[in-house]
Symmetry: C3
Subunit: 415 residues, 3 copies
Amino acid sequence: MSEAMFTANNLWILIAAVLVFIMHLGFASLEAGFVRKKNTVNILFKNAMIIGIGLISYCIIGFNLMYPGVNEGGFFGFAGFGLSMPEGAAGAIEYADGAYTYWSDFIFQAMFAATGATIVSGAVAERMKLNAFLVFTLVFVSLSYPMTGMWKWGAGWLDALGFYDFAGSTIVHSVGGWAALACIIVLGARKGKYTAKGIRAIPGHSMPLATVGVFLLWFGWFGFNGGSVLSADPILVSLVFVTTALAAAGGAIGAFFTSYAMFKSHDLSMVLNGILGGLVGITAGADLMSPTEAIIIGLIAGIIIPLSVVFFDRTLKLDDPVGATSVHLVCGIWGTLAVGIFGSAAGLGQLINQLIGIASVGVFTFAFAFLLIYVLKVTIGIRVEEEEEIQGLDLAEHDMQAYQEKEESFAFAME
Amino acid sequence: MSEAMFTANNLWILIAAVLVFIMHLGFASLEAGFVRKKNTVNILFKNAMIIGIGLISYCIIGFNLMYPGVNEGGFFGFAGFGLSMPEGAAGAIEYADGAYTYWSDFIFQAMFAATGATIVSGAVAERMKLNAFLVFTLVFVSLSYPMTGMWKWGAGWLDALGFYDFAGSTIVHSVGGWAALACIIVLGARKGKYTAKGIRAIPGHSMPLATVGVFLLWFGWFGFNGGSVLSADPILVSLVFVTTALAAAGGAIGAFFTSYAMFKSHDLSMVLNGILGGLVGITAGADLMSPTEAIIIGLIAGIIIPLSVVFFDRTLKLDDPVGATSVHLVCGIWGTLAVGIFGSAAGLGQLINQLIGIASVGVFTFAFAFLLIYVLKVTIGIRVEEEEEIQGLDLAEHDMQAYQEKEESFAFAME
Amino acid sequence: MSEAMFTANNLWILIAAVLVFIMHLGFASLEAGFVRKKNTVNILFKNAMIIGIGLISYCIIGFNLMYPGVNEGGFFGFAGFGLSMPEGAAGAIEYADGAYTYWSDFIFQAMFAATGATIVSGAVAERMKLNAFLVFTLVFVSLSYPMTGMWKWGAGWLDALGFYDFAGSTIVHSVGGWAALACIIVLGARKGKYTAKGIRAIPGHSMPLATVGVFLLWFGWFGFNGGSVLSADPILVSLVFVTTALAAAGGAIGAFFTSYAMFKSHDLSMVLNGILGGLVGITAGADLMSPTEAIIIGLIAGIIIPLSVVFFDRTLKLDDPVGATSVHLVCGIWGTLAVGIFGSAAGLGQLINQLIGIASVGVFTFAFAFLLIYVLKVTIGIRVEEEEEIQGLDLAEHDMQAYQEKEESFAFAME
């Protein structure tokens, strides 16, 4: 491959990594907007630490678990601790058939890695102990995410089987969703959510912050899906941009009509989650779909969102403050199945492979997360005290408040 | 063209599309910051839907209306419904002389398309019915914007004439501005704005949100103008970056001094709109100007902003909560004229061509928007009820509030 | 160099410039979040004006002072006023050995230039006169920053000596930090900060805004450091991305543990400043470090942050509302020294060169800034009146408020 092609391909992987990075601000903003004011510092703190913990643990363990470079078609492999660039410049260039360097590969994948824990962060908001959450993040990102990631992207057994997941509807999003589900089952609902008098809606404290978050996630998703081409291939990357954008648009439209039919009002949080649902839905097959198919996949994801949110909240009585299970788990499953139904890979055989992938990753991840959170529960404890939850985690865990409302009187008192 | 050049050119068009995408968050934040708290969810909701409606309608109709590929030098053309990639990989590469693929062309243009309606969104804020606005958006983005866009960028009659509009001072910004003007004339002012006691200033509810919006718009404008080179040509794209940045800086300086002279205070909203005015002003000729000319064009746009805002508000008594008509219409006209006055295309002949372009696009767009909003007025109605306007659109249309202030007492009440 | 390589290299410099641009929104958000509500418009206004003033003054004077193209190894040089592209297209391409155009060079460096003043902006917040600050910005960015910048990056005497500062731990960050230090010494603390009753913590008004700011700064830092490779060299740029990200992650972890040990709570502002400290710390040697060394440099920077913040606040009683001196000055010095301790350039000789660079730039910048702020103090005055400070700068200087809380009652009163 020519130097110029190598440079252009590598540049795109790096820019895509930057775009995926900013998704962490998207998650932080979205989750902060959807929680109550008294728990805002806590959710911001968690998101700042997740990216720190995620990058370093992926550097030490995760990357070499996910891409062991040995044991093709297998279930497990490990290339040792820490990063080790292939020898010299030539090694870096020959890496990955000359499409990008070893460092680019690591940083792009590392930005993905913390996403799983970020998804959990929102679901367990407003009631989980900070330290327990950070330990969960460390173990989950170091071990569970790279294990199942290796099955597909590390040339493991699901890849050998023919399972298809372009940018991670299953490998990233439903993995986060399964972990979130396990955590909220073990953790229980927020106080006052499900009472004898009925189910309380607990609205988030800032819709502007949540909206900023969703637009930033959409923005970053062009890197998430577009970078997953793993080169700057003009036709593939541009097709992926089109399908990604149209699925998100379809998600907005689907959630708009469905939530209006269900609630007789124009619910902003449903449209925002509909956009995210459309994005998660297209992620598994973003390189396989036509524009029309992308719109349909997004529309269906958008229709799923309000139905799923209501199902988790009212039927299952599982408390998920940001709708992470609906967006990432349910739409992650939908997007993975869609590869067997729509697009150039559709077919019954593919659909069965997709089901095997969904089920195997789901069983492993749910079991791992359930066990991990359970062990944390019986050891260091996972739930804050009742009075801390009422007071809010910002004061209880951080001795801070997200907003200072009354500084004028304070300043006068100084005189 | 070599594969490497094709890849680099195409990559830039895609990245530019991502930058234009984030301008929608810029508009959403700016408009949300400039409206009252009680109408914040509504403006966020509109902006989330605009991008959804805009992308899908441009995919189905708009793109083929704007770039019909037939009828060169004409007034109207249509290449049929939906997207259809040129046959195979070769077709994709030969498309656009090898500078970018068909998909890249679509996604870059589609990100532009919704901008017209976004500009209207701010001007009609705080009093227009949501459904009427969404229907307006759908029809305007599907038909009006691509029609006049085709006159210039689709090789239509204005292009044949010699009208110059590099990245859309007229074709995008004044189009949005004319539509906004038609809408606010038909819609009328917000209640309490113009009373017997005088004209009330109605300040926006969050200057931080508005500021975030302006910086994001400036950020995205490097893609809006830089991508309009339609290749990664190093000299042209870098020159466009320089003129774009300097015009925005000039706009800040111009608005700073003018608004201080007028109001004897340092008005942040004027400086923010001055920056946007500078950006709109340079857009028509960003590839033709020297750095000094770019600063002058921006300075003049910055001087225009406070004068124009006061003229619309006090003289014409046209209520535009975000100053969209001053920024996009007046500075759009100024920037288009500036091509005939400054830079390498300056001259009387060019100036006349610019005037013809401004007038023809203006007459068509204003008439289209006026008729459309009038038809909506007499059919489904365009204005919310008086009590809804007083209560705020967030509760009236969305049954939500943008901010939850009192969750502590709520949580205690749960016990 | 081939056309395709030139195009790819140049494209990266331009994209890096866009990323550095958005750091100005990062600074604006961070500083706004860390000040009191009553001074929010003021800090946003300053940040909007800094980028305007910075770009234009760098265009007129600064760029030609910093890169005079003459007097190699010297102390001072000036290539004349304004921009002047090398003759024709060939000149633009031959410029900088074909890695980027003259315009790309200017815009990338211009985005850096305003950063120095932005750092000062936060430190002097809540008490400095707007006009005095803007004059300070103009003179400092026009003269002081480019002078010391020339010593290293303009092939001046520090460069000839062997001083190493890859992307500006000293040349950008500690320059801003020294200026901030001089200003807060001359300006004095905010009223009510240091009283007979003790030292008051004055918490910022919005942690979400501060968090958004830090994530945007991190996002932009990939352009700040990555673009400083001055080409799209795949190995170097990707290595710089890895070291930059890991140092920031290390900063988060270091500040997490240190601030918990010191304060027994999880202080979000310390973790946020820890991330920034890690980023400043890696900036001087981002191209020289291994991943492990990057983590260590970041960790140490993160440990430094809470210690330094407490030292400035409690020991020196120097009032710095956003911690700019700790982040930019102290971690800037640390990062510059780290080049002599870690990585491929480490050694006693290098360490001495680093010390000479730190000291010479520090002495010049501190003296320049001290003299400048002192002259402003005795001429136009630098401190707002006591009642203005109590009332808040937003009302005193801008006749505006950042937030409108009570629009409902206003609207009803209109009826």
